[in-house]
């Protein structure tokens, strides 16, 4: 075996090292040091994140099962940034009374799921993809059930688990069809073997794969678990689910669709995505309009955001890919900004409904401010990053120069108005409602503060500083061979 092939996967290896160190710390350090575990993990992961920014060699490993390219590297770096923010936000929570005993497991599982996602991102073989997906999924069920004394947490875990297994069955069914058609699991081989013949089996295969991955992305109609799980799971897990899990799945989804099914893009999965995007954005928005629980509200908002991410995929070009990655990055900062505030408030007061936030600006101006820019960014209001990411994602989609896509974008744009409405509801509650605020002036932990500040800065700067997008575009251009089949 050629061990040098491990050299092209430094990010995965680094992650494993972090995991191992955390595991060792958790297992062997004395109890009095255990309280520092969250800080230790976060710091270690921070170091690793910086490390993961160093460029890696492109190439294939394990007989073409694993690919490392600029795009995967950048995607993983983005995921790392998001992970770091999640970790920062969860430090205080992980040390809280009921969680403290199992905090080691929390971090280990979290890191493991991230590893699974890395595999998904880099996979160039159905098998590795499936393994990555399951590695990313399974521990999350355990994590969702983490708040042992909350019934909701368990219900969330159950719903997640059953749906996850169901979706994995569907995905496997799709994959088995693909195998039946082409006799291989390797993306490159599959692409050429599938050809552009439209057999019913192929269409079914595409549909089932879309449905299987659609679960991770919570695309409508495969989304129904999302809201319940987001609401029931601990906030740290919810935020992780909503951004990291979604981001990695989106990237892997893109790779599968364009590489494996690239030949049937225009006839088959473009229209599937077309319908799914419209449904996802619209239904997500329509559900979000009514929500009073902020976590549930963000769940639906994240569903509709997933629809926008899909616009980058339906584009099936480098601009779309760039925009999608950029969108994910921005979405990570915006959504985590919102979750940071929710988590900070929930940890101290247990309040998570919009009505509790009435008049928040008076008692906690900075929390309100962070929440507001997060909301504006999600809604796509300049000068916040969300505006840029939305604009670019639309630009990517429209580059297909297909009239139907114009209609799609128009529908998406009209939906932004609905989404603006519910994001503004939160802003309204915080700033405009003059009632007595039920949330006293809170003192956030340093880690929460850092997380929020990072998010706020990210929201403000990522858009204005154009080099990030330009850089991602360069990365995507390097991977333009992905789109050879389109």
């Amino acid at each position: 075996m050629d061990y040098s092939q491990f050299l092209i996967m430094p990010q995965e290896i680094g992650l494993l090292v972090v995991f191992l160190l955390v595991f060792l710390y958790d297992t062997f350090m004395p109890d009095r040091c255990q309280k520092a575990l969250p800080t230790f993990t976060t710091a270690l992961f921070g170091l690793y994140t910086v490390f993961s920014f160093f460029p890696v060699h492109s190439g294939m490993a394990f007989a073409g099962m694993f690919e490392s390219s600029d795009a995967t590297w950048a995607m993983k770096a983005i995921l790392n940034v998001g992970m770091l923010l999640v970790l920062l936000q969860s430090i205080k929570w992980a040390n809280s009374e009921f969680v403290a005993v199992r905090r080691g497991e929390f971090y280990e599982l979290l890191l493991l799921t991230l590893f699974g996602m890395f595999l998904m991102v880099s996979a160039r073989n159905m098998l590795l993809f499936y393994i990555g997906l399951e590695t990313a999924s399974l521990p999350l069920a355990a994590l969702a059930a983490f708040e042992k004394n909350h019934y909701e947490s368990h219900e969330a875990a159950a719903k997640y688990m059953f749906t996850a297994i169901f979706s994995s069955a569907i995905l496997l069914l799709g994959m088995s069809f693909v195998y039946g058609l082409a006799g291989s699991f390797d993306y490159n081989v599959l692409a050429s073997a599938l050809g552009d013949k439209h057999s019913a089996l192929l269409i079914a295969a595409v549909a089932f794969v879309v449905a299987g991955v659609g679960f991770k992305l919570s695309l409508v109609p495969f989304h129904l678990w999302t809201a319940d799980v987001y609401q029931g799971a601990p906030t740290a897990v919810t935020s992780y689910l909503s951004v990291i899990s979604k981001g990695s799945a989106a990237f892997a989804f893109l790779v599968i669709l364009v590489q494996v099914f690239g030949t049937v893009y225009a006839d088959v999965w473009k229209w599937m995505l077309y319908a799914i995007i419209i449904l996802t954005i619209t239904i997500g928005n329509l559900f979000a309009v009514r929500q009073r629980n902020l976590k549930r509200f963000l769940a639906f908002s994240s569903i509709s955001q997933a629809g926008y991410i899909m616009l980058g995929i339906i584009a099936a070009n480098t601009l779309g890919m760039t925009s999608m990655m950029y969108y994910i990055l921005v979405y990570i900062f915006s959504n985590l900004g919102a979750f940071a505030v929710i988590a900070a408030i929930e940890r101290q007061t247990d309040k998570v409904t919009i009505d509790d936030y009435n008049g928040l600006f008076k008692t906690n101006p900075w929390l309100a401010f962070t929440m507001m820019i997060a909301m504006f960014s999600l809604a796509g209001i300049p000068p916040f990053a969300g505006f840029f990411s939305k604009f670019f994602v639309f630009a990517g989609a429209l580059k297909t120069a297909d009239t139907a896509v114009y209609i799609l974008v128009l529908i998406a744009l009209i939906n932004t108005i609905i989404s603006l409405y519910y994001y503004l509801l939160v802003v309204k509650a915080m700033f405009i409602r003059q009632d007595e605020c039920s949330i006293p002036t809170l003192k956030s932990h340093w880690s929460e503060k850092t997380g929020m500040i990072l998010c706020a800065m990210g929201i403000i700067l990522i858009g204005l500083v154009s080099c990030i997008y330009t850089f991602l575009n360069g990365v995507a251009e390097n991977s333009s061979s992905l789109f050879n089949l389109i």
């Binding site: 601009l319 209001i381 300049p382 639309f394 114009y406 128009l410 009209i414 503004l424 154009s466 997008y469």
Partner: protein
């Protein structure tokens, strides 16, 4: 740095610095907040005047470029988005207008309560958007600044407004953002068809030069952009945000909104929709002409029966702004010049109106004209100011409204087709209806016997209120008395667009 050698960029930097300065103020330090705000507004005014002088100098020196002071820096290279600056006569006068209104607005909100700091923060964020919009010639930055200017309205109305403010603020924001949704699609569509040889660009000038947007695409994109901007320009039937929004907004916000923000609509319609898509403009203008024609008359008629001062003004704005779009769609230099004059005029006089209404409301705590009367005896300064604003609105020569409307009417009549002429005459009739509602409100509000005994104790305007309104009154009079100064600046800016149109439309070039 090179970027700082262009005066235009300071129109964004100064408001941003003001924002920073305000952010540093303490929440309670009202003195410091006011100082910073006044400094920022004054700096903008000085900049704007400097810009006018520079512009005249450049033009005087024979610089006949379409845009002057142009500069561009690449921002988002993959999409060829640039921070492209440049002004022509239209933008120069719009910047001047905005600077005046921001200046007056600061004084009109002198006693803002509660949260003065936050108020001014949003206020200047809004100004940043407005100025940024006018100095940009890149579609992306234009659009970005456009939205930057829109969203602060929500909080400005929501927090500091009055009446049914939640509903109004939400409606206003959603409708305007709805417009900008169409606009975004339009802009992206323009971008992707901006060039025949694949060098896509966002720069308005380059797009116009390439003239590559296919005709069928123009027919699709033109309505998108026109409606997008038209919503902000209060075009029938997308105007309903205006009455509610204005009625609920605090004084300075109404001023800025009616005075400047609504102008973004007209400016955008001309700069983006018509200039870049002359074919579609000539094909579809009849639809929008009809709509704007309806706007003019409809707004005026609606204003006749309102009883809330702000509603009257909001509907009158619908009518006047309708005239702006109406004139732009007349496709000749004179009418378009008139449109810009009308923007200036309407901006200043509506700002004056709203300032005065705010001051009256601040004293009487009612805006219902049925509850007021005889205010002229109690507050002569405000009364006289109101009469002047009213006379400007109904088009008294010597004040700005007359100049603008006459230019529009004469220009519109230049078109030889019957459809446009009939509409012109229909539009002309608004001068009578305007007189009706203005005189109605003046008569009820200012003249007659004092309706409410409590009003007798009220005082006349303070020094800052006087400063704010006097600035606007003098501006209105200056435009009215020396229109050619402005016409000379504006007129030539329409040559390119009229030339572009002349391929598809029998434009009258005289």
């Amino acid at each position: 740095m090179e970027i700082f050698s262009n005066i235009l960029i300071y129109f964004v930097i100064v408001p941003l610095l003001t924002l920073a300065g305000l952010a540093l103020c303490r929440n309670k330090g009202i003195g410091a907040i006011r100082t910073v705000a006044v400094m920022g507004a004054s700096a903008l005014m000085i900049l704007a005047i400097t810009l006018v002088v520079m512009f005249l100098k450049e033009r005087g020196a024979g610089n006949n470029a379409e845009m002057i002071l142009t500069a561009s820096w690449t921002w988002y290279a993959p999409l060829n988005v640039k921070l492209a600056l440049g002004v022509d006569g239209v933008s120069v006068v719009m910047i001047l207008l905005s600077a005046f209104i921001v200046f007056a607005g600061v004084f009109a909100s002198w006693k803002m309560d509660p949260l003065p700091k936050q108020f001014f923060l949003w206020f200047f964020l809004l100004s940043t958007g407005v100025f940024g919009f006018f100095i940009s010639i890149d579609l992306f930055t234009m659009f970005m600044f456009y939205e930057v200017a829109l969203i602060p309205m929500y909080l400005l109305i929501g927090v500091w407004g009055s009446g049914n403010k939640n509903y109004s603020a939400m409606k206003l924001t959603l409708m305007l953002m709805g417009g900008s949704a169409f606009l975004m699609l339009g802009i992206l569509g323009i971008y992707f068809h901006s060039s025949a040889d694949g060098n896509l660009t966002m720069n308005v000038l380059e797009i116009a030069q390439n003239n590559a947007i296919p005709e069928n695409w123009q027919l699709f994109l033109f309505p998108m952009t026109f409606v997008g901007f038209g919503v902000l320009g209060a075009m029938f039937p997308f105007h309903t945000w205006s009455p509610d929004g204005h009625a609920s907004a605090p004084t300075a916000v109404s001023m800025l909104h009616a005075g400047v923000l609504m102008k973004l609509g007209g400016y955008g319609c001309f700069r983006v929709a018509i200039y870049l898509m002359p074919f579609a403009a000539s094909q579809l203008s009849w639809i929008f002409l009809t709509l704007t024609g309806i706007s003019i008359v409809y707004g005026a008629f609606s204003a006749c029966v309102q009883t809330d001062l702000k509603y009257i003004n909001a509907y009158s704005s619908v009518s006047h702004c309708g005239m702006v779009l109406f004139a732009i769609l007349m496709f000749n230099q004179t009418a378009m010049t008139g449109a810009v004059l009308q923007m200036l005029s309407h901006g200043l006089m509506t700002a004056l109106f709203f300032a005065l209404i705010g001051m009256i409301y601040g004293r009487t705590h009612t805006r219902d004209i049925r509850d007021m009367g005889g205010l002229m005896q109690i507050m002569p300064f405000l009364g006289v100011g109101y009469v002047i604003a009213g006379l400007a609105s109904l088009g008294l020569p010597g004040l700005s409204g007359f100049v603008a409307e006459m230019t529009i009417f004469v220009g519109s009549y230049e078109n030889a087709d019957v459809f446009r002429r009939v509409l012109t005459i229909l539009g002309t009739s608004s001068i009578v209806i305007t007189a009706v509602y203005i005189l109605r409100v003046v008569g009820k509000l200012l003249f007659g016997a004092v309706q409410n005994e409590h009003h007798k104790q009220l005082t006349d305007a303070n020094w800052f209120e006087r400063l704010s309104t006097t600035t606007l009154m003098v501006s209105v009079a200056i435009i009215g008395c020396f229109p050619n100064f402005f016409v000379d600046i504006i007129r030539d800016s329409f040559v390119p667009v009229v030339n572009a149109l002349s391929d598809f439309f029998p434009v009258v070039i005289r």
